[in-house]
C-alpha cells in the first residue's frame, strides 16, 4: 500500500464500471497501480482516515453518484483539505447534466469526462486520460 510509485485512485461503486475501467487502463498500457474505493465514504477513509495511505494518489477518478457520500461531497472534502487540495481530480460519470458539470468545476474538478456507453469510445477516453494525467501533466512534488 505504501510504496512510492504514483498510483490512481478510482472512486466507483459499480463493480462493472470498475472492471471496465481497469480493463481499459490495461488495454491502453497504463501500468500505474489503480486503487479502488467502492463509495464516497471509503474514498474519504482512504485519504483522511486513521489507516489512510501515506502516499497520495497522482490522480483521482471520481464518479458522482456514490452510495453514502456522493462525489461532489468527496470533491469538496478533498479540496478543503490542505494536504489533498492539489491532487488532480477527474470526474468520470454517466451524467451529462449541465448541473453536474457546473457543480464539478465549481468545486474544483480538473476535468470532467462522461463515460460513454460504447466501450471503444471509453478506451479512447481512458487512453487520453492516462497519457495526459499520468505522463504529460507535471505534478507538484510531495514534501
Amino acid at each position: 500500500m505504501s510504496n512510492e510509485e504514483p498510483y490512481i485512485l478510482l472512486v466507483e461503486d459499480n463493480p462493472d464500471d470498475v472492471s471496465l475501467t481497469l480493463r481499459a487502463f490495461k488495454k491502453q498500457n497504463v501500468v500505474n497501480r489503480v486503487e479502488v474505493a467502492g463509495d464516497g465514504a471509503e474514498a474519504l477513509e482512504r485519504l483522511f482516515g486513521v489507516q489512510s495511505d501515506p502516499t497520495l494518489p497522482s490522480v483521482i477518478l471520481l464518479d458522482l453518484k456514490l452510495p453514502k457520500v456522493d462525489g461532489i461531497e468527496v470533491l469538496k472534502k478533498i479540496r478543503a483539505n490542505e494536504r489533498t487540495k492539489l491532487i488532480p481530480i477527474i470526474v468520470l460519470t454517466s451524467s451529462k447534466e449541465e448541473v453536474d458539470l457546473v457543480r464539478s468545476y465549481e468545486n474544483g474538478a480538473n476535468s470532467y469526462i462522461r463515460k460513454p456507453v460504447e466501450f471503444k469510445d471509453f478506451l479512447r477516453a481512458v487512453n487520453r486520460l492516462g497519457v495526459y494525467w499520468m505522463l504529460l501533466n507535471e505534478r507538484i512534488p510531495e514534501k
Partner: protein, 993 residues
Amino acid sequence: MTDMNSRNESAKMETTTSTALAEKAERKLAELDSPEANARRRELLERIEGKIGRMDRFDRLRELTDGLNADDDVSRLKIAALVHELEVYQTEIEIQNEELISSQVETSEVRDRYQQLFDLAPVGFCVLEKTGVIEEGNEHAKRILDPVYRRLEGKPLGMFLTTESRKTLFHAMERAQHGCEEGERYELKSGAVARVCIRWRDDGDKKAGYLVSIADVTDERRDEENKERRFQTLLRNFPNGMVLTFDLRLRYTVADGRDSTRLQFPKDNLIGKTPREALGDEVADALEPHYQAALEGEERRFETEFNGETYEVRVTPIRERDDVVVGGMVVSQLITDRKLAERRVLESERLNRALVQANLESLVLVNRMGDILAVNEVGAERLGYEPDDLVGKNVYNLLPPRLAKSRKRRIERAFETGEKDRFEDEREERFFANYMHPIADEDGVCRKMAILAVDVTESRKRERALNRYKNRLEELVRKRTAQLERNGAQLREEVEQRRRAERDLSIKERQYRQLVENIPNGGVFLFDEDMRYVAVGGKGLDALPDELEGKTVSDVLDASIAEEVEENYRAAIDGETRSFEVELAGRMYEVFVAPVETDGDKRMGMALTQDVTEWESTLARLRLSEARLQQAQRLANLGVYQFGADGEGLFWSPEAYRIVGLRESENPPSREDFLTMTLTEDRETVERALSDAATLKRRSRFEFRVKRPNGSIAHAQSVAEPALDEDGNLLRVFGAMHDITGQKQTQEEIAQLNRDLGRRAEALETANRELEAFSYSVSHDLRSPLRALNGFSMALTEDYRDALDDDGKDMLDRIAAAANKMSDLIDDLLKLSRISRTELVVEAVNLSAIAESIVEEARQKEPERDLRVDVERDLYVNADARLVRVALANLLGNALKFTRGREDACVCVGRESAGDRVEFFVKDNGAGFDQQYAGKLFRPFQRLHSTKEFEGTGIGLATVKRVVQKHGGDIRAVGEPGAGAAFYFTLPWGERE
C-alpha cells in the same frame, strides 16, 4: 580494352609535357642566375630568416643553403627544382595508374552486368560462328530453342529448326553477310514459332560470326490466325454491304460480304480487276481518287449512289508491319433506308425545333436516356443555360440528385407506357406543371419526349392563399365553437347554481311564508319602489281586498289614506325605518315600515301592520312595538343586549340569546358571563371594547367568537354604546350584536380553498422536482448496465477471439449494439414518462388485506424461507387501491429483502397514534440504515447499500413517497444500521364498509 589504350596514350603525353616543363625550368633558372637576382634572393632569404626562422621547414632549407657558395647555390637550386618536378611527375603517374586500375575494375563490372543482362534478357541471344554453330547463347535462347536440355553451345542453329525453316535460315545468313538484316519467322522442331533476327559481325582481327536474337512468337502467330479467322467471319457476315481490298495497282484482292449478292457484280467478277475494269469508267472516276488517297495513307469516307442505292463507303490504307502502305480496304454499306429515315428525322426535328422555339413556356425534347435533343429559349433560361449549351446534356444531371431520381422514374414510365403524364415541381419558389408528351416513332416505340413546363406559380400562389384563408376561417370557426362550448358549459353551470340557489331560497321562503302567514292580528306587506305589493301575508287582512299582489297602494286604498301610506313606504325604500298609524275601515292599525335588502333591480320595503284598535293603553302599545322590533331583529339576525353600570345583565333580546346559544329562559348574562362565553383569544378585545364604552363613555365596535354549549362556534360583530344621565353618569351599556358566522364560514371556506390550491401547487412542484431527479437518474443509472453490456461483450470478443467463430463474434457485436440502442431508448422512455399521469380513484381500502396478500405472494416465491409477518387487522384507508398496493409492495419488499439471511427476521404492519396524528407503519429488524442518510432514501435512484449487498434500482421508496403524497399524506423513515428500519406514513382514514 580501347579505354585502357587511350589511358596509356595520355600517360605518354604526360611524360612529354613533363620534359617540356623541365626545359622551361632550366631556362628560368638561367634567368635567376644573374648577380641581381642572386642579390635579391639573398636579401629575401635574410628577410625570411628574420621573420619566419622559427618554422622547421625553413630551418631545414637554411641548413641546405648554408655553406654553399653562389655557384654551388645555383646548381643546387637547379637540381632541387628538377627533383621537385620529377616528384610531381611521379605523383601524377601514380594518380593516373590508380585511375587506370579503377577504370579497369569498372569495365569488368560493366562487362559482368552485360553478361547478366545477356543471360536474363527476355529475348534470346546467340553468338554464331561463321559456320552457323552456336558459340554462346543466353538463357532465353535456350528456353526457346531447346526447352528440354537447354544446351546450345557447339550445335548448329539450323538443328533446332524444321527442314523448311532451315533453308530460309541459310538464305537469311547469306543475306546478313551483305548487310541485310531482317527478322523472319521460323518454325521450330519443338512446334513453337520464333522470330529470328540475324546480324553479321566482323571485327577484323577477331573471328567473324553472327549475332542472333530470337523471340518466341508462337502466341503472336496464334493471335494472328485467330484474327484472320475473325476477319474472315466478319467479312462473310458483313451486313448490308461489302468489304473489299485492293493492292497498290488498285486491283481488288478480296471482295466479300453478306450483301454482295445484291450487287450486280458477284464478288468473283471483282477479284483481280481494277474498278475501271470491273465497274466501268463512271464508277471508277468516283472511286479511284479515294483509292489513291488511301494508298497515300489517308482515310476517306464518302457516300455514293450505285444502281439507285446509296452506299456509305470508307476507304482505309492497309499497312504492313513497318507502316508501309501495301493496299487499301473498302468498306461499303448500303444506307439507302437509313438515309431516308435520317431525312425524315431531320425534318421532324426541324419541326420540333420550330415548335420548341415558338413556345412561350419551357419546352424540352429528350430521348430515352434523358439527353436533351432540343430546348427552347424559355426552357434554357429556366435551367440557367444557353439553348445551344444544353443540347446533348443529360437532363437528370441538371437536377438535384433526389429530384432527378423521382423525375427519372416518371419520365421513364411515360416512355414505357407512351402515355401523356403530368407532374409538378417547385424550383426557387416557382411552381411548374410539367406535361410529358412521349413521341412515338412509326414503329410505335417512343424514343423522344417533349416536356412542356408551364409556370403555374401565380395560380398556385392563389390556391395557397385560398387555402390559408380557408384554414384561418376553419381555425376561427373551431375557436368560436370551443368558446361557445365553454360558454355553454358556463351557462349550464350558472343554471345549476341558480337552481341550487332557488332551492335554497324556496326553503327560506317557506320558512318566511310560514312566519308571515302566522302573524296574528295583522299582516306583512312587501312592496317595491313602484308602490306595488309584491307579497302579502298575515291573519289580520280582513279590511283589505283579496289578492293584493301586483296591485299598487293607490289601487287598494282610498286616496286620502294612500297618500300617507305611500309617503311612509317611500321613506322605507329610501332606507328609513318608520312607524305610523292608519285608520282603515274603522279600525286602527299601527304600521311599521323598513327597507328590505334585495339583489334585484328594484328597491323594496316591508310593512308590518297590527290591528291596535283594541290596545288602549300605551303600555300595550309599547309591548307591541317591542315585539315588532324583536321580529325585525330576528329577521335581520340582529340581537340587542344591555348591561347595568356595574356590568350586571339587564336585558338580552331573543336573537342575542340565540347567537350565543343560550336559552331565553336563562337569566340575561352579565358582562362577566359574556366574557366567559367568548373564546380566550377574543376575550381581551371584548373586555377593552366594553370598558371603553363604560369608562370612556364612547361607542366601540368589536368582533368576537363564542363557543356555544353545543360546541359550535358563533362569530358575531357588535357595537356597544353607553347610556348616560343628564349629568353624564353612566346608566347602562347598550349593545347590538350581528351574527356573521355564515359570512365567516364562507370566508373560511375560501381561505381553505386557497390553501388547497396552494397544496396542490406544491404537490405539483414536488412532482416536477421528482420528475427532474428521475430523468437525471435515468440518464445516469440506466446507462451503467448498458456500458457493462457493451464493454464486456467487447472484452469477450477481444480475449476469446480464438474460442469464438464468426457467428459468436457477430452475436457479441449485436449485444454491444443493442446496449447502444437501449441507451437511445432510455431517452425516449423519459419523454414518455413526462406525459403519463395517474388519476386517483379513491375508495375505502382494506390495507391489512392488501398487506396479507403481498406477503402471501412473497411466501410463494420463496417457499423455503420462514417469513414472520404480523399485520394488524382491519386497517382501512380512503385511497386508490392500486397505488396502495404498489406502495405496500415496495415497503414490504424492502423489509423482506433487508431481513434476508436473518434467522429471527420479523416484519410487522400496523397503526400507531402520536398525539392527534395517526400513522401506519411497516417495520423490520433487518439491515437498517444510518439515520443521517434517511433524507436520501426517498429520492429516486438513491441507495444506501451497494448493489453487491442488496439488489435493487433505488426507485422503490421514491414510488412509495409519491403514492403517499398523492393522497395528501407524508412518510418518514427511522432506522439504525443492523437494527432494522421503520417507515411511518399517513393516508386518509377510511371506514369499514
